[in-house]
């Protein structure tokens, strides 16, 4: 008997019981159900939730693969024994370090989703599929697995389930998870020791290695050791999936082409970041701050380079565009995205405690998204009322 029939029998067996949603989810995740509707006309759209989620995951796969190769590449480069980027040696480190993160992220997250579906008696939603893929991509490589498990449990329960599950959450669950990790275990989430595999356990010993990120170097007014093309292609230390700007741009184009991600948000985030960068460049050019200022390093970065250092592009393409937590109106999306870019760069430059501000900026704007929508809609109503008035009088 094929797997499909087995799952179908299981589903039938548990129909009407408490466990029904769990078996139902397993069945519909892998196969199309046999049942068809009988009466009435139903419009079938191809872009259901499952299709949307799978498109995003497809766009993320290149970032994940690149991150796995880069894990080993950075590790050996930091050890002073460089290996080829596309070699078995670099991939091996990626497999033993990155895959467990993916497995834990999906395992814990889906277990909680199933648990809540069974308790509350609703169907399991596909919402966690993308979150579960995003989470391993936005954490440092040496993060202990139990910390990730705790954070995923926290993020899924507090960030999503208490609001009513997929589609009802205010905050992006993946970023809630990252924020939890950042505030709970700051030593594992920032600094110069966490971005390259092996750096933490070697700290303080004779063969210590360092994985200073570009943002860290700038913040301390130090020389940056990586070339612009390395930053663009992604051969730099950083969170697992966000280093390669080229692949993120390709993923973004794919999302825009399939109409899954909003080009308005992506574009306006980038514009916001560029405007803030230009303002800082202007401040430096005008000579308002001296070279000894602690902000000088980051402020004097040419404005367009802000896009290829740090994770602003990853945030703009995969995080800000989350259809649930972003603004819904078109005008609102421009404001929402612009402020994300603007605030990200502001946090990046002004607050040395938060070397990267993208996730904080997106979470903040998640909170304001409904307010932005409200005012956009009210303004539109007001405009239409004005148009209507002369005719009434």
């Amino acid at each position: 008997m094929a797997l499909k029939e087995k799952l179908h029998t299981l589903k039938e067996k548990y129909r009407g019981t408490k466990m029904a949603p769990a078996f139902n989810a397993l069945h519909t995740f892998l196969y199309l159900p046999n049942e068809t509707t009988h009466n009435g006309t139903h419009i079938k759209a191809a872009d259901d939730l499952k299709r949307t989620m799978n498109t995003v995951i497809l766009a993320l796969v290149p970032c994940l693969l690149f991150g796995m190769f880069n894990a080993g590449y950075q590790h050996y480069a930091a050890l002073g024994q460089p290996v080829d980027f596309l070699s078995w040696d670099s991939l091996y480190i990626g497999i033993i370090k990155v895959l467990p993160l993916v497995v834990v992220s999906y395992g814990v997250g889906l277990a909680i989703e199933f648990l809540f579906a069974v308790i509350k008696g609703h169907e399991v939603e596909e919402g966690y599929l993308v979150t579960g893929m995003l989470v391993p991509l936005i954490v440092p490589i040496d993060l202990p697995l139990w910390m990730l498990a705790v954070a995923v449990a926290f993020g899924v329960v507090i960030g999503k389930e208490v609001f009513g599950g997929t589609g009802m959450n205010i905050l992006n669950p993946a970023l809630t998870i990252r924020a939890f990790l950042f505030f709970a275990y700051p030593t594992w989430m920032s600094g110069d020791k966490v971005w390259v595999h092996g750096a933490v356990e070697r700290a303080g010993t004779a063969d210590a290695i360092s994985g200073e990120t570009i943002l860290g170097s700038y913040a301390q007014n130090q020389e940056v050791l990586y070339s612009l093309s390395d930053m663009f292609y992604g051969f730099i230390p950083g969170s697992i999936g966000e280093t390669s700007k080229l692949l993120i741009i390709l993923g973004g184009l794919f999302l825009i082409f399939t109409k899954v991600g909003s080009w308005r948000i992506m574009l306006s985030t980038i514009i916001g970041a560029l405007v803030m960068g230009l303002i800082f460049n202007g401040v430096v050019d005008a000579g308002w701050i001296g070279e000894t200022s602690k902000f000088y390093g980051l402020m004097s970065v040419p404005f367009w380079q802000h896009l290829i250092i740090g994770s602003i592009l990853f945030g703009a393409v995969y995080m800000a565009t989350d259809p649930v937590t972003a603004s819904q109106t078109n005008k609102g999306k421009w404001i929402y995205g612009f402020l994300i870019g603007f605030i990200s760069i502001m946090i990046r430059v002004f607050n040395p405690a938060y070397p990267e501000g993208v996730f904080l900026a997106i979470l903040l704007m998640n909170v304001f998204a409904p307010t932005i929508d409200h005012y956009v809609i009210q303004a539109n109503i007001k405009k239409r009322m004005k148009r209507l008035k002369p005719n009434v009088a």
Partner: protein
């Protein structure tokens, strides 16, 4: 209950659970967020509020027939302020370190909405004994939540209870720290207190469906 009539014991027991000032009436949240990072501070705060509310309710109840209603808020404030200053001075005299941890929040007991709320809602209209019980009951309800929150925040945030390490030494890597466990720094930040209070509210309301508002 031999000591208390059924009606009287309700005054004490109700605020402990189904009419808790923090989790049901959502009053006094500010201090619950600010000082619960350590269990010791939570306990001292709970005792201070217990004293202020017990005595304050009695004083207001005694004066209830002579206070002109137009200036009753001022009178209430004078009573709370007097009691809070006593607490503050006692803490400064006998537990100086602790009073530094609690800092401004001892003074801010004055603005704790639970206290003014009970003065207004109960002590102004009830006799001495019942006002006293009501004050004690509400202060206990407040204190219980404070201590629960303080317990979890100190245990998970610093790995200690009342300043005594219970999970091992995080620097020497003994106890659970040897297994790779680490303290959760988020627990020491105020937002986490809000989330812990929220979780208590969640548990309480899912056990007693009658408490769900809509």
């Amino acid at each position: 209950m031999g000591l208390l009539s059924k009606k009287d014991s309700k005054l004490i027991l109700d605020p402990l659970a189904d009419n808790n000032p923090i989790t049901i009436q959502v009053l006094g949240i500010c201090s619950a967020l600010a000082i619960t990072a350590e269990l010791k501070a939570s306990i001292v705060m709970a005792i201070s509020v217990l004293f202020v509310m017990g005595v304050g309710n009695v004083v207001i109840s005694m004066l209830r027939n002579v206070i002109p209603s137009k200036i009753r808020i001022i009178v209430q404030l004078v009573v709370v302020a007097t009691l809070v200053i006593i607490v503050d001075l006692v803490l400064k005299a006998y537990a100086y370190e602790l009073s530094k941890t609690l800092s401004v929040f001892v003074g801010l007991i004055i603005t704790n909405c639970i206290i003014m709320g009970r003065f207004e809602a109960f002590a102004l209209g009830n006799g001495l004994w019942r006002s006293f019980l009501d004050g004690i009951g509400n202060a206990l309800g407040y204190g219980v939540i404070l201590i629960i929150v303080g317990f979890f925040r100190e245990l998970l945030g610093s790995g200690t209870l009342l300043g005594i390490p219970v999970l091992g030494d995080p620097i020497e890597k003994t106890g659970v720290y040897a297994l790779g466990y680490e303290n959760n720094g988020f627990m020491l930040l105020s937002p986490m207190a809000l989330i812990v209070v929220g979780l208590i509210i969640w548990v309480q309301r899912s056990r007693n469906k009658a408490l769900i508002e809509d």
